[in-house]
């Protein structure tokens, strides 16, 4: 029981970390970034390449990976999304197509297989109350908690952060105050990508980097976002924890193969009972009043 609780917590935090970038981007710019999963594994692979093939220092590799992913995110916006901005259908299609493009090219180039792993931060494990948990997972917990606190602080206390929240609440008002919508959108996509990269660096060491992970990450992020309320960072966090726990309990009580069922059931339930998600505002639902 205890192990389910502990792993549930860890799982939940991992989910929160993975989803953070997606939610940030949507909450600020109403931009559904379907390339989220692709950027995730791209970041991991960039770091891997820099670290293993080019022999760069680990920290430097990570840093470069973060920057380049953010850059790519912004580039996606400037080159592609900006041209179809406003037509929600096209935005979705374009980011999705870019994601596929990236992931399948990576697959073709051979970036698949167990040799693609990132090193864990600290190896070894620790026993707590009879439950074995490796150090890296604790590192994840710590880092995620720190990141969440940082994001909270950032969006509530710094000028840029507050501006982002303002835009998230009312884009038109923000525009009237002179904030450039396109610049903000590309920034938010860049931030979201950077968060995805960060999540990748932290979480990928737990397993190998595969293209399938890219798809899974997208599914999970979407599921968590829907449950928590598209565009609500707080809701996403709670939803991630909920799903993390549910997943672990389902796996323990019913069977390990039912982990995905939990996600699907959660989405269906949410859509029927409270479609805006746990913390979503109902205003978000309808296009306009």
């Amino acid at each position: 029981m205890l192990d389910a609780l502990i792993y549930g917590l860890i799982n939940g935090l991992i989910l929160a970390l993975i989803t953070a970038g997606f939610t940030l981007c949507y909450s600020v710019s109403r931009l559904p970034n379907f390339a989220h999963g692709a950027l995730y594994i791209l970041a991991g692979l960039v770091a891997w390449t820099l670290f293993n093939s080019l022999g760069l220092n680990y920290v430097l590799s990570v840093f470069c990976s973060l920057i380049s992913t953010a850059f790519i995110g912004a580039a996606i916006y400037w080159l592609l999304v900006m041209r179809v901005r406003g037509m929600e259908a096209s935005e979705i299609i374009v980011t999705f197509a870019v994601a596929l493009l990236m992931m399948e090219v990576l697959r073709y180039l051979g970036f698949v297989g167990p040799k693609f792993t990132l090193p864990v931060f600290v190896s070894g494990s620790i026993d707590i109350l009879g439950v074995t948990v490796d150090y890296h997972r604790w590192v994840i917990v710590a880092l995620t908690a720190a990141l969440m606190l940082f994001l909270w602080f950032f969006t509530h206390n710094t000028k840029v952060g507050l501006a982002l929240r303002a835009i998230a609440q009312d884009e038109r008002a923000a525009m009237m105050l002179g904030i450039d919508s396109d610049l903000v959108a590309s920034l938010s996509l860049a931030f979201g990508s950077a968060l995805a990269a960060l999540a990748a660096i932290i979480v990928l060491p737990l397993g190998a980097i595969t293209v399938e992970t890219g798809y899974s990450v997208l599914i999970m992020a979407v599921a968590v976002a829907i449950l928590g309320g598209l565009g609500s960072m707080g809701g996403t966090f709670i939803a991630a924890l909920l799903l993390g726990f549910s997943q672990q309990f389902a796996m323990k009580l019913v069977g390990p193969q039912y982990s995905m069922v939990v996600f699907m059931a959660a989405i269906v339930l949410v859509l029927i009972i409270k479609p805006s998600g746990i913390f979503g505002k109902t205003k978000e639902l309808e296009e306009r009043v």
Partner: protein, 251 residues
Amino acid sequence: MSSQLILEVIGLSKSFGGVKAVDGVSFKVRKGEVFGIIGPNGSGKTTLINTITGFVKPDKGKVIFKGVDITGKPPHEIAGMGIARTFQTARPFLRLPAYKNPVVPLYSSRARKMFLGRYGDRDHVALDLLEEVGFERDSLTPYKPAGTLPHGYLKRLELARCLALKPEVIITDEVFSGLSAAEVASIMPLLEKLNMSGITLIMIEHRLRELFRLAERVMVLEYGVKIAEGTPSEVVGNERVKEAYMGTEVM
């Protein structure tokens, strides 16, 4: 005009985020009267209407239509019960030709009941409705795409859309806005005619002079709160109302 109540709103409240758009508004509308709702910008008039017609769910309060509680019902149900509304920015179905616009409501279940018999040819019913609201029957105007019509016609089109439901109440949201003096002068008799035929009118308006010629009773909102109610002359003389519109500075 009977003294029978057709619409009763009790303690309606709605907040968006931290802003109280409508705060405890109550009023009654009698069957067959013309009831005006006025107030400076941002006083919550449109939100009030959205709440009554079901586009927005109120936080508190009740809306009672002909004795039935319709609070929180979805918009199409409320329209189906006989309350039609126009929208502040008149947006007809742009790409459809004008005469197809009133055809759309004819597919509702209410229209099916009301127009029994004549229902065979929806296009004809629609053309009749357009004639009723002032489109010249034998001109090409009804056949043009709705997006190309001048503003005055668009307002009439909205009213035709309402009439397709054979409503008992029509709520107009700033129907005079964007119209020239001549256009207003020509649309007033139409509204009078509709009212004479038994339809209760609830009109949100900014053009007070025109409204006061039609309305028997008027309610004033400011920041979501009702600050006055009465006949036009009573309301015009009200100090609070003057303050709301002019501000508290003495000119």
